[in-house]
């Protein structure tokens, strides 16, 4: 059982005794209650008239707090604390702080009488308007708030820590000036928390939960308030201390980077990393305001200069046409197919040409090898087995359509799909057909073999699972476009991309769809897995990292053109090519760019790593070897 003392949206039963004063009631034979002004969890605020000024209408605000303590000692202590704080408040004098006129206690109720502020608190204001508040408006308020916090933090004999900066405790009066209300005097009346409650303070700094109150904590809460005002994202409805996960400019692009940076500093977890004082924060806000005031469009003026080709090229080798596919590296040799119809064999260390084998069509599929033979599929409809040593033809297998699916070796056989709408399974030693499986469309996806099952995507928009008895175990037909991407299998789950703009997670045993992640364009890129994440490229130009168990995006990195090739992971980097001509190296955990290597043409194949070198081809006809 959990008990709630205060729910986020509405506090009900516990506040039933608050806000009960009817208009017309007179307190202390002096304050005539006119209306309920605001009610929180522990107190109510009324607008009232001070009858001691019979000839003028003097409005006051009366804050009522209920003493719920049953134990008499506790009860008295609460009243004494209240009176001590009221005395302290009465000594404060600042234009942004309402004047305290009077206080009194009557039975279980204590009252604080203060200057009535004709205006609106920021929470109410935020509720009323649509869209975010204007940046210059918010920055002006922030500067005023820094002033009043500076006053409080330097109060003599003792600094006053406000402890509760948040929109509902800040009012804008009808002159447009900022007023700080609610000095937490009501806290004394807060009953001890007994059960579970929903909703956190949202604005409070992390160290407050260790019982620390300091000026730096007020600055954090001010930062949190500004963040809320500029983004409209209520921090009480978000995980605590998650502001850095919701960068202001991601939610509201109209805010300047300068202002965002000031707020981020105020929101640092570690109080040491925040501003040293309210004064310092004010200066930073003013400097930012000056910056943004002077420059008309500072953010579009400069495009960041990215590091280019900071990585070392070991060698490159020029073929006679575009290289659209992916190289294979085996036993110190790079094998790569080219659109000039040849399969090339190059020395992986030096890039030296070893041999080439001519087919009669372009080669996009990645070759495979068992060490003795290299298998290469061509758009001339054939699969060739040639000797790894010299490229001498061992056998040829004919399919009935161009082959774009990359062959894979399993169980002594070669598996691949063809545009003839068949999955072909060929004896790897003699090239004889072992099995042909007809499906609904061309197969360009690379088959995945696991246990006695084979999984592959199809241009018909299906993903098939067959067992080795050629019995279809299931067919996933929920995708809406071709599945050219090749599936991967991790812990009983299949992941693959689709031209319907999605990355799918499908349970491998029975083909149930577990989740679907939507991207901005069709994808033909194949996913890879590392550290509980799936990485994939998309036609929207992005390389994505998605949490495998939930399909949630972790990060994406935007390139300048489509990403049709597939990423690979090596150590803690993601390597992936883009049609913008560049090979990208990204930090696997954050998606941050490590380096970018520019070639003379689009990169549509998948790179491969061997011996700490990265190998890939480009449409500029070249094969590259880079140091990782």
């Amino acid at each position: 059982m959990k008990r709630t003392t205060k729910a986020l949206s509405d506090a009900t039963s516990e506040t039933a005794q608050l806000g009960q004063l009817e208009p017309g009631v007179t307190l202390q034979e002096r304050y005539l209650v006119l209306a309920l002004q605001g009610a929180g969890g522990m107190s109510s605020v009324y607008r009232a008239r001070d009858l001691h000024f019979p000839n003028v209408t003097k409005a006051v605000a009366v804050k009522e707090m209920i003493n719920m303590a049953t134990d008499p000692t506790m009860h008295d202590m609460i009243v004494r604390n209240f009176e001590r704080e009221a005395d302290l408040l009465a000594t404060l004098s600042h234009p942004a702080i309402p004047r305290i006129y009077d206080y009194f206690t009557h039975e279980n109720n204590s009252y604080l009488v203060m200057e009535f502020i004709d205006g609106k608190d920021l929470e109410a204001l935020l509720r009323e308007i649509e869209g975010a508040l204007a940046e210059d408006q918010v920055v002006n308020w922030a500067i005023e708030l820094c002033d009043v916090l500076f006053y409080l933090h330097n109060h003599k004999p003792q600094p006053v820590i406000f402890r509760d900066v948040k929109p509902s405790n800040i009012m804008v009066d009808n002159h447009g000036s900022i007023r700080l209300i609610d000095f937490g005097i009501a806290r004394n009346f807060q009953p001890g928390q007994k059960g579970t409650m929903i909703g956190t303070d949202g604005y409070a700094p992390p160290e407050q939960y260790r019982g620390e109150a300091s000026p730096a904590g007020d600055l954090y809460a001010l930062g949190a308030t500004l963040h809320h005002l500029l983004t409209r994202k209520d921090p009480r409805a978000e995980p605590p201390f998650s502001f850095s996960e919701r960068p202001i400019r991601k939610l509201n692009q109209s805010v300047s980077t300068e202002t965002e940076a000031v707020i981020n500093t105020a929101l640092a977890y570690d109080p040491q990393d925040r501003f040293s004082s309210a004064e310092a924060m004010k200066s930073a806000l003013m400097a930012a305001a000056k910056e943004t005031g002077i420059l008309v469009s500072p953010r579009t003026a400069t495009t960041a200069i990215r590091p280019r080709n900071e990585v070392q090229e070991v060698w490159s080798f020029e073929c006679e046409d575009e290289i659209r596919g992916s190289p294979l590296v085996a036993k110190g040799v790079v094998y790569v197919g080219c659109y000039d119809n040849n399969l090339y064999a190059l020395n992986a260390e030096t890039g030296e040409f070893l041999w080439k084998f001519a087919t009669e069509g372009g080669i996009v599929a990645k070759p495979c090898s068992d060490g003795e033979l290299v298998y290469v599929a061509s758009e001339d409809t054939r699969l060739y087995a040639v000797s790894a040593e010299r490229g001498a033809l061992a056998w040829t297998y004919y399919s009935a359509g161009p082959i774009r699916s990359s062959p894979v070796i399993s169980e002594g056989h070669i598996f691949f799909g063809s545009d003839d709408a068949r999955l072909h399974v060929v004896n790897m030693f003699n090239g004889s057909a072992a099995w042909k499986q007809e499906v609904a469309g061309p197969i360009r996806s690379t088959p995945l073999i696991s246990g006695d099952r084979v999984y592959f995507g199809c241009e018909s928009s299906d993903l098939y699972c067959y067992d080795f008895k050629s019995e279809m175990k299931w067919r996933f037909g929920k995708a809406k476009r071709a599945i050219t991407s090749s599936p991967i299998l991790i812990e009983g789950m299949l992941y693959f991309g689709c031209k319907d703009w999605s990355l799918y997670a499908v349970e491998a045993e029975a083909g149930w769809q577990i989740w679907k992640f939507r991207m901005g364009q069709p994808t033909i890129s194949s996913p890879v897995f590392a550290e509980n994440r799936i990485y994939i490229g998309s036609g929207d130009g992005r390389i994505y990292a998605v949490e495998a168990k939930s399909g949630r995006e972790i990060w994406h990195h935007q390139t300048e053109h489509q990403v049709n090739g597939s990423p690979i992971i090596f150590e803690d980097s993601v390597y992936c090519g883009s049609v913008d001509n560049s090979m990208y190296c990204l930090d696997m955990r954050s998606g941050r760019l490590r380096w970018q290597f520019q070639t003379g043409g689009p990169i549509t194949g998948t790179p491969t790593v061997a011996n700490n070198r990265l190998y890939f081809g480009s449409h500029d006809h070249r094969v590259y070897a880079l140091l990782t």
Binding site: L8, T12, M197, F241, E411, A434, K478, W515
Partner: protein, 293 residues
């Protein structure tokens, strides 16, 4: 077996002998990880605890297991909810939430298993689980103002379980003598702990350890955690309210899990353990045993 035999050897595929000869049963407590059974076993138990007058927790457990040619895969639905709110709104919130989740998933997901072709046409499972929890949230928001509840639901299908979660009840995978928490507590202290502001020990005794930042009933547009995890083979899935995990140490939970003859006995024993440690809160436990693959 060669590949060709596998492909064309329809008639001669080796079928496992159905009647495995049993030797004298082993005492599971003497062998870590000894198999209890070759079938899925479930237990569930609940107690108001020692200190509380009402029970505001709710649970639901369903298991489907069949065999035979073209059998429906094993499935299950396990839900624990821990309600909060005055005037009995906690128990109402947890009860209607569990009911809403069970109804939605039974109707839209589990029953469709029996129409096998239909099933693959459904929404992604994670979306179905997410919708079920959001529906529960909507009914609590509209019918139980001021009330709320945690909710952890595991929808098991074949080898995977898809878990929907809000609040600070927990799902654990118990395997190889280890307890792995699968869910993330949506509590203030957990968050402070994640940020390195509190140690685990400080969090366990923090005066605000009961403050949740997310719960069913919190308001519209609730974001829930949904993820999929393989079933813990040769181990247990444990779902429980904080009346168990906040009271009985993990080592004790593991010991009880592995030394009981049946998950039901383990659940009863876990509840007893929480009560003898003071029973400060309502206790709810569901335990599911998964045989080795």
């Amino acid at each position: 077996m060669t590949f060709l035999q596998r492909i064309f050897g329809r008639g001669q595929s080796a079928v496992q002998s159905p009647d495995r000869i049993e030797t004298a049963p082993l005492d599971p407590s003497t062998i870590e990880g000894a198999a209890l059974s070759d079938r899925i076993l479930v237990g569930a138990s609940q107690s108001t605890g020692v200190e509380r007058a009402h029970n505001e927790d709710a649970l639901f457990s369903l298991i489907g297991s069949s065999s035979g040619e073209a059998a429906v895969p094993d499935f299950g639905l396990f839900v624990v909810a821990d309600g909060m709110g005055g005037h009995r709104s906690g128990e109402v919130a947890s009860a209607i939430s569990v009911r809403a989740v069970a109804q939605r998933l039974a109707k839209d997901t589990l029953l469709r298993l029996f129409e096998s072709d239909d099933f693959l046409d459904g929404q992604p499972l994670q979306d179905q689980v997410r919708k079920a929890l959001q529906e529960a949230n909507n009914s609590v928001v509209s019918r139980v103002p001021g009330g709320g509840t945690t909710l952890t639901a595991a929808l098991m299908l074949g080898n995977q379980m898809t878990i929907g979660h809000v609040g600070d009840s927990r799902a654990y995978a118990l395997t190889n003598g280890q307890a792995k928490v699968l869910t993330r507590d949506h509590s203030l202290v957990k968050r402070l702990e994640e940020l390195g502001q509190l140690t685990e020990a400080e969090a366990a005794t923090h005066p605000q350890r009961n403050v949740l930042y997310k719960a069913i009933g919190q308001g519209a547009n609730l974001e829930v955690d949904v993820f999929t995890h393989p079933v813990p083979r040769n181990g247990f899935l444990l779902i429980c309210s904080d009346g168990l995990w906040g009271v009985v140490p993990e080592a004790e939970i593991l010991r009880i899990a592995w030394s009981s003859e049946h998950p039901q006995a383990a659940c009863d024993e876990l509840v007893r353990a929480a009560n003898s440690a003071g029973g400060p809160d309502n206790i709810t436990v569901i335990m599911v045993y998964f045989p080795p693959a």
